[in-house]
Symmetry: C2
Subunit: 369 residues, 2 copies
């Protein structure tokens, strides 16, 4: 079944409000989730409500947080998100970064005591829409990845995003986990009965494997690059960089700390968002025009497969958005049933179409990053 | 043969001065090259003089440049490097970034009209030594890498560096090409008669290959991650990010521009360096202590191979430095002969030990990034 963006957003907000979240916070959170689904990033869309529900039942998450700025300079601020989910404080942080970039040229905001904040591209696109370069990084909840040469997991999918405005409105938007793939794609290989390509994961001894069952059975996801010989230490290095920016700068509990995810309150996640003005260096239109020339030159590269033209980061998501703005955002029957059960449990209004009775297995959904 | 750092630096400076470079510029350039060799980064050390010599003979490089600040704000500046090599202007740019970070919290410097500047870790380590976070990126001369799904090369090794100070003086220093490996390592596989691991390169049709000869015979290096199925689009995305920061921000000729490397003057390389103060967010000692706790937790991970403990970015280079500070910096006979020939050609003083006559083939040296 497919629904327009507005219905999608309203359904997510209704469920969040039924949990006790303030209407404004729920609206922002739902907007970030719906943005991800609109752009085809289902792993960070409304499906996350299932994960958030599991979290709120196992540990206290502040559903009525009052984020506040703890330290402030003309170019930087430290925010405390007060133990709630990350979407609303991260959007506020990027708004503050943009305001500082407009007045001082650059704004860098560190956020502590926060939670999962959805797709990073949402925030860096805010900066690009304002004609600025945007950067975002976040620490994560789950520990799934060993350092290169290590036999135990020490860090997570630790994502990074960088966006720059193009003169044609097609921003360059890189939004990537620093792992090769997310665990959802490993699970899908098990479902399909297929081996994984090289570089996706390690077995429980930390050795590279092509068997997805070995990854899910006590094994690990691999950092971007895979094993050491194919430069997995670079993905590992990028993940440590992300943790330094998101956790060490903000004072969030380190992912390597024994108390990580065991604090009495909140989700221990830190964010880093930044915006800066290319106009400090060049005329803004010259900069944007060069970004577009660079991206267009990539797109014009003769493709290996004539059916698959070369794309630039941000292109696939824009293509999905164009279709979904016209046709609506699809939700599979398994996810719809799960959301329906969530809504029923707390008496949230059900805005999606009737959930068809079906005995198909619920769809796999990607894990929280 | 091995020589102390001082001899190494003096030898490089003598050759550069013999080309007409001003003494102060030659001293800075030699310092950056010797730093790389001291830390085991031979691909960016004194061996580069052979490449620089080839360049200066084929195109005008300004050996007496007068870099100048073109635009300036409290947090940013645009520098023009005046068509010379990049080491001296990049060091000046990072010094300026550090000064701005000390006064305003952050300094971002864009450099245009520059050349190869050696190892990025030199500059980001300057920031970490000052208690700051350092970032550096540069565009490159050589075009060796296709965008994901593309059958022609469009960009280069496009490196990125990030450094953060640790409380124990062991800074986290990530300095990485956004390709899986440099071409030197592909050449070494040919010499050894070995296949490459998955993810290193593509053949001339842009298809993944394990045969190093196919890479060197009209094929391509792969972005970090390798093929699309192992997330090579992430390395490709990072490379575009580096080009946006280094070229689009500075107004340097884009690597995709038909005039790239064909300008009448200089090497068309742009840099981006940045420093910022963690003290804007937390007490600096708390930040540095968390960086060290994070890195120590990685180092304490039980290794897959008990003989090979887990390392953190910056550790391998520090280990090499400790040995070379004690024993001197080794130079193989092939490189020594090449440098000796360079020195003889322009009458530069020869400070290294006598070059033993030998009919061994000259060593392969890594290509200019």
């Amino acid at each position: 079944m497919k629904h327009p963006l507005e219905t999608h957003r309203a359904q997510a907000a209704a469920i969040l409000e039924s949990w006790g979240m303030a209407a404004a916070t729920a609206a922002t959170t739902a907007d970030v989730l719906a943005w991800a689904d609109l752009h085809g990033i289902e792993s960070h869309g409304i499906a996350m409500l299932v994960e958030y529900d599991a979290r709120r039942k196992t540990r206290p998450i502040n559903l009525r947080p009052a984020p506040r700025v703890v330290r402030d300079t003309p170019v930087a601020a430290l925010m405390d998100a007060d133990g709630g989910l990350g979407h609303a404080p991260a959007r506020e942080a990027m708004q503050l970064a943009i305001a500082k970039a407009r007045s001082a040229g650059v704004g860098m905001i560190s956020v502590r005591n926060s939670g999962h904040f959805g797709a990073l591209g949402y925030y860096t696109t805010m900066a690009a829409d304002a004609g600025l370069i945007g950067i975002a990084a976040t620490s994560v909840f789950g520990i799934r990845v060993p350092p290169t040469g290590g036999g135990e997991a020490r860090f997570g999918t630790d994502p990074w995003s960088f966006a720059a405005p193009g003169s044609d409105g097609r921003h360059f938007v890189l939004d990537m986990a620093t792992t090769t793939v997310a665990s959802g794609r490993v699970r899908n290989k098990i479902v399909e009965g297929q081996q994984m390509p090289p570089g996706w994961g390690f077995d429980r001894q930390g050795r590279p494997t092509l068997d997805p069952r070995e990854v899910m059975d006590g094994g690990f996801l691999s950092p971007l690059g895979g094993a050491a010989e194919s430069a997995g230490y670079k993905g590992y290095g990028l993940a440590v960089m992300v943790n330094i920016l998101a956790s060490c700068l903000s004072g969030s509990t380190l992912i390597t700390d024994p108390m990580h995810s065991r604090q009495p309150y909140g989700l221990d996640v830190g964010h880093f968002v930044m915006a800066f003005d290319p106009g400090m260096f060049r005329m803004p239109d010259e900069f944007q025009s060069d970004v577009t020339r660079l991206c267009d030159a990539m797109r014009a590269t003769p493709p290996v497969d004539p059916e698959r033209p070369v794309l630039v980061a941000g292109d696939p998501e824009r293509a999905v958005r164009a279709v979904r703005e016209r046709d609506g955002i699809p939700i599979g029957p398994g996810l719809a049933r799960r959301l329906h059960a969530l809504a029923a449990e707390t008496g949230a209004e059900w805005l999606f179409m009737d959930v068809a009775s079906s005995d198909a297995a619920p769809e796999a959904i990607s894990g929280l990053t």
